[in-house]
Each structure stands twice: as structure tokens, then as C-alpha cells.
């Protein structure tokens, strides 16, 4: 019979989600699943995602792949969909609580943060003790990806996170600035400029994703500071890996959105055919799609691949 599925992303403007949609569409065509894609207007736009879920219910979809913008607020709508017998899989960003979805296919975002944190610490060596770090976070509502990566970075860098579920409650003097970027270039540039004002001595910049890293880099460049600062990021898209190659970004944690998407479609197909739900990775409460650190300056004790390998595995 004809199985229909939905893909709901945060925006349809971040290349990450564009790729995810491409991957899902390809897989859906292959398996004969009908796929409809929805997105919010901006990162953080919860209402559009609620309306999208309702449309999927009305449409009689068998499964929904959801990249939630507001990981707490969306939970009730997800429940409605599941009550209607739909399989809901969170992609990329876990819900709160994580078991609000039938399954989660995601990067281990905490580990992604931890990898770049440890790498930065090792790269700085002794200087890590008095590093000045700026955090280019995501949105004010602190969705799970935002918290996991930010706190993961601190953990990797050796900074006490206090409440690991909350950004900004730390008191380590090395954290000089937190600002939000909405995960895009414009936000990255503005946030970086603001942080530079607070402390022009910043020498480490953590960024939530590669678009915001690109924006932050422009801000540094316009004041001639681009070579004094270590930028780390998460994503591993082809432009991002090239940026690592070019030395713009020091290291990035590569994720695999195509895998999330295609596995998601497969899971829905399987659920429609057999009623079977996907299982999480051993020992974790979600299915880990993997994460790899990409850098051309490997650091002691932190596993990584170089940009050549990174380019082979990058996604667009």
C-alpha cells in the first residue's frame, strides 16, 4: 500500500536540513514511501512545527521524522501524533524527555561538544589555564542540542558545568561571553562582535554549528583578529571541512544527517510493514549516528581524522 511519511525540520534554510531532506527524499523514493517535508520559519519557531504535526495526522501519515526547535514545548503535539498511531522519530535533536519520541536518531551531541572541547584544551596546552572563551550558542530557549554541545565542550575543556542541563550558570572565569546566533551567519557575526566588545582578548570560540562559525569568523576578520583565535564547531558539512582545511576553523565534530534521514525513512517503512519500532544503541537512550572529529592538527589523546578523510565523508 502507499505509506506516507513526514519530515519536519527546524528551518529549510540551514544546509544541514537541506541535505537531510535530500537524503530522506532519495530513500523514500527508493522504498516507495510518500514523503512530505515541512519546516519552521526560523530556528526556534515551535508553532509551525505544531501545525506541521497536525497536518501529518490529518494526512494519515505512518511516521514523522522531527527535528524539534523547542524540545520541551513540542512534546504534547508529539504525544497526539503517537496517540494517533504514528511513529515519531526525533532526528538530530532529542526531545525532553527523550522518550517522548518513539526513537531518536542523532549525533551524540554531548560527545560532539566534548571532542572539540578536549581538542581545544590539548591544542592550547598550558595556555588553556587562562584561555578566554566565547560561546556562540543557539536560541534563548536552550533546546537540547544547544545545551548538550555547549556543556559537552566545557566538559571536554575541563570547565565545571555546574548544572549540566543549563547554559550560563557556570562561574569559571575563562568563560567570558555567551551569546545566541540562531544558528546562522548573520547571528554568528553579531554575536561575535558583541563578545569582542566584552573582551577583545578572546582566544577560543565555541560555535553551535558551522553557519554561525562562518559569521563569527567574519567578525574576527574585520578587526584583524582571525589568526589569534581558535574556532571550533560542529557539523562537518563539506564547506565546514574545507574551512578546517583552510585554517578558518580549527576542528569540527562531523555529523551524518544523511544517515539520520535514511535510517528514519527505513524505520518508518518497517514500522508500517511490521509494526516494529527501532531500538536505541546499546547503553544509550537514543540511536547514535556517530560523530568524528575532523582536524588537520591532531592533538594528543583526542581521536580525529584529517580533512581529506573528512571531505570524503562530508555531506554537501
Amino acid at each position: 500500500a502507499d505509506i506516507s511519511a513526514c519530515l519536519i525540520t527546524k528551518t529549510d534554510t540551514n544546509p544541514f536540513f537541506v541535505k537531510m531532506k535530500e537524503g530522506a527524499t532519495a530513500k523514500a523514493n527508493e522504498l516507495g514511501v510518500q514523503l512530505k517535508a515541512y519546516a519552521g520559519k526560523i530556528d526556534g519557531d515551535n508553532e509551525s512545527q505544531v501545525a506541521a504535526i497536525e497536518s501529518c495526522i490529518a494526512d494519515g501519515a505512518k511516521g514523522i521524522l522531527l527535528v524539534p526547535s523547542d524540545t520541551k514545548a513540542i512534546v504534547d503535539s508529539v504525544k497526539k501524533a503517537r496517540d494517533a498511531g504514528i511513529l515519531v522519530i526525533a532526528l538530530d535533536t532529542p526531545l525532553e524527555p527523550i522518550d517522548a519520541a518513539d526513537a531518536t536518531f542523532a549525533t551524540d551531541n554531548f560527545k560532539a561538544g566534548e571532542l572539540i572541547g578536549s581538542w581545544a584544551k590539548a591544542t592550547l596546552g598550558d595556555a588553556a589555564k587562562d584561555a578566554k572563551i566565547a560561546y556562540m550558542d543557539l536560541t534563548p530557549s536552550q533546546p537540547t542540542v544547544d545545551v548538550l554541545r555547549d556543556q559537552g565542550f566545557m566538559t571536554g575543556f575541563g570547565i565545571d558545568t555546574k548544572d549540566v542541563n543549563k547554559i550560563g550558570d557556570e562561574d569559571d572565569p575563562r568563560n567570558v561571553c555567551h551569546d545566541v546566533t540562531n544558528g546562522n551567519e548573520e547571528g554568528g557575526r553579531k554575536a561575535m562582535e558583541n563578545c569582542l566588545q566584552k573582551d577583545p582578548g578572546i582566544n577560543v570560540v565555541y560555535t553551535i554549528n558551522e553557519p554561525s562559525a562562518a559569521g563569527a569568523y567574519e567578525a574576527l576578520k574585520s578587526v584583524g583578529m582571525e589568526s589569534n583565535v581558535l574556532i571550533v564547531s560542529v557539523d562537518g558539512g563539506c564547506p565546514g571541512v574545507k574551512n578546517v582545511e583552510a585554517g578558518v576553523i580549527g576542528a569540527t565534530s562531523q555529523q551524518y544527517p544523511l544517515l539520520m534521514a535514511s535510517m528514519g525513512i527505513e524505520a518508518i517503512k518497517k514500522f508500517a510493514d511490521t509494526g516494529e519500532k527501532p531500538a536505541p544503541t546499546e547503553g544509550k537512550d537514543f540511536f547514535d549516528t556517530g560523530v568524528t572529529l575532523v582536524t588537520d592538527k591532531p592533538a594528543e589523546g583526542v581521536e580525529s581524522i584529517d580533512t581529506k578523510d573528512g571531505l570524503a565523508k562530508c555531506w554537501g
Partner: protein
Amino acid sequence: MSDATAAGGKQPQEFEKVLSGSDTSVANFETQSRTPLETAQHFLHSNPAAVPLIVLLLSILGFGIAVGGKFFSAFTMTLILQQVAIVGIVGAAQTLVILTAGIDLSVGAIMVLSSVVMGQFTFRYGLPAPVAILCGFAVGGLCGWLNGALVAHMKLPPFIVTLGTWQIILAANFLYSANETIRSQDIDAQAPLLKIFGETFRLGGAVFTFGVIVMVLLVAVLWYILNHTAWGRHVYAVGDDPEAAKLSGVRVKGMLVQVYVLSGLICALAGWVLIGRLGSVSPTSGQFTNIESITAVVIGGISLFGGRGSILGMIFGALIVGVFSLGLRLIGTDPQWTYLLIGLLIIVAVAIDQWIRKVAG
């Protein structure tokens, strides 16, 4: 002391005396036989909500054909109502303000702040839910009062006032809530009253939420008030020509303040309904509600210059947007096409309206 002309006192001037014989018939410019087109135009002209209603019916029909039977199901139809409930309620507030020739950019912010107050007062301070809800309404009314006072007493343009208060209220919302979302599970456990408007009941295949019911009731009551009470007529008079309204005995300042306060209270109601719709209290919601409510008002044929239009038009306008959004989603078009088409819709709806006004003269 008196000259020739003074003799004329108590007497009309010579040339005015002939007026007794003047033609007393009233010039009648109206062509006697109207063509069906003219009759239609006249009907549309005197029923401001008719154009959006017709557009609504046509778009339901159009999508019904494009999407197929599933679109006409009671479930889909009631889903549109559910999706439109928030914009419809906020649109009612916006309608009141726009009828007075104002505009309210802060509606979404008031709505969210009220919902946050309802939630946080229950959970942070442990107040009983009904009290917290009342506090939410009080905050909404207060925000409205602030807008109204600045517009009425300081005589500042509503666009500027609400551009300012929008930012102020939204920032206050984020600062106060500390961006904390209150989770569905907690509300269910401790204060289900907050979510009352999310409750559904079924009538055959149709699923209604209490939120939908409250929107319909609100619009009906406001329609009655605007058309059948003195207060309602005064809202129109204030928007039509405030100076004239003042001179002919309307307390314009008082009316303006009342309208903005009422608008704030309605936004608070929308905030309560929002909790029901989302299941949770989320301080980041409602970012686009101001634009969405203005869109509904505009497509509904209500004049941004005030004094003209029907609140029924607004609800049809909101439903048109709802039908388009859902219809296009069900067809499976890229969401960007939806925005593009809604943009077109805004312009076309207003152009048609203008055309009718012009031709009907």
C-alpha cells in the same frame, strides 16, 4: 446712524425672495434599472464580510478538488478551526484596535507574557491555577492599558507605541520567564485548568477543542457589541474621524483606552488558549502572531485607516489563511510556496476590495 442697507434688516435680500418658487424635487442621479453586476457590487459593498466569505468558500472548494475527499472530512475541517483558533482570537483584539484606526504590534508579546504569568505564578509561586490565570488576565489588561494610555493621552501614533511596547513586553517576558518552558507533564499533574482549552470533544468525525468554541463565542459576542450597542458604534466613530467623534459627544480618549485594555484582555485569553494548544508554557511562542493577526484583518476586508469593516471578515480572513496553509501542506508543496501564495492573497484580496469600492462608488 443707519444707511440704505440697514433698511434691509429683518428682510431677506431681494434676490433671495424668488427662492419660494424654486424646484423642490431632489436630484436623483441613480440609474433606475440596475444590471445584475451592479446589484452584485452593491451587495458586496454593503456587506463588507461577503468578499472574504466568498473567497473562503471558493478556496475550500478549490482545495477540495485538488486534495481530494480527505479535505472535506469533518476531521480536516475542524483541524483548520483548531489551527486558526489563536490567530482568530488575537485577530479579534487586532480588529478592535484597527477599527479605531490603530494597529497593535504587541499582541503576540502580550499573549505570550500572559501565558507565562499564568504558568509561572502557578509553578514558581505555587498559587492556585484560577488565581494565576486571573493574574495573567491582569497583566494582559495592564499591557493594553499602557498602549491605550500612550495612544490616547500622549497622542503618540499607535504603530510607534506598540512597536515600542512589543519589544518591551517581549523582553520582559524573556527576562521574567528565564526562557523556561513549563512542561506538559507538570501541567497535567498540577494545574490541568491551564490546559482546559486544549480539551477536545467529538461530534461525529469532527473534533472540537474548547479553544475553538471560545474563539467562535468571542467573535459572536464582539460582533453583537460592535453592531448593536452604543459602545460598538462609538468604536467605529472613533476610527472614522476622531475629531468629529469627540465633537459629537464620544469620549474618544476613554474609548481608546477601553479598546486597548479590552484588546490586552483578549490577548491574555489567547495566551490561556495557547497553553492548551501547545500543552506547555513556552516563552518563545507567538513571534509571528502580530503579523498573522494583521494579515487576517487585512484579508478580511477591514480598513487599516479605521472605521470600516466587520469582525466577521477577520475570522473569514483567518480561515482563508488556515485553508491555504493546510491545503498546500496536504498537497505537499514546499512550505515556501505557502508563504508566497499568502503574500499574493493579501494583495489580491485588498485589490478586489478596492475595486468593489471604486466601481460601486
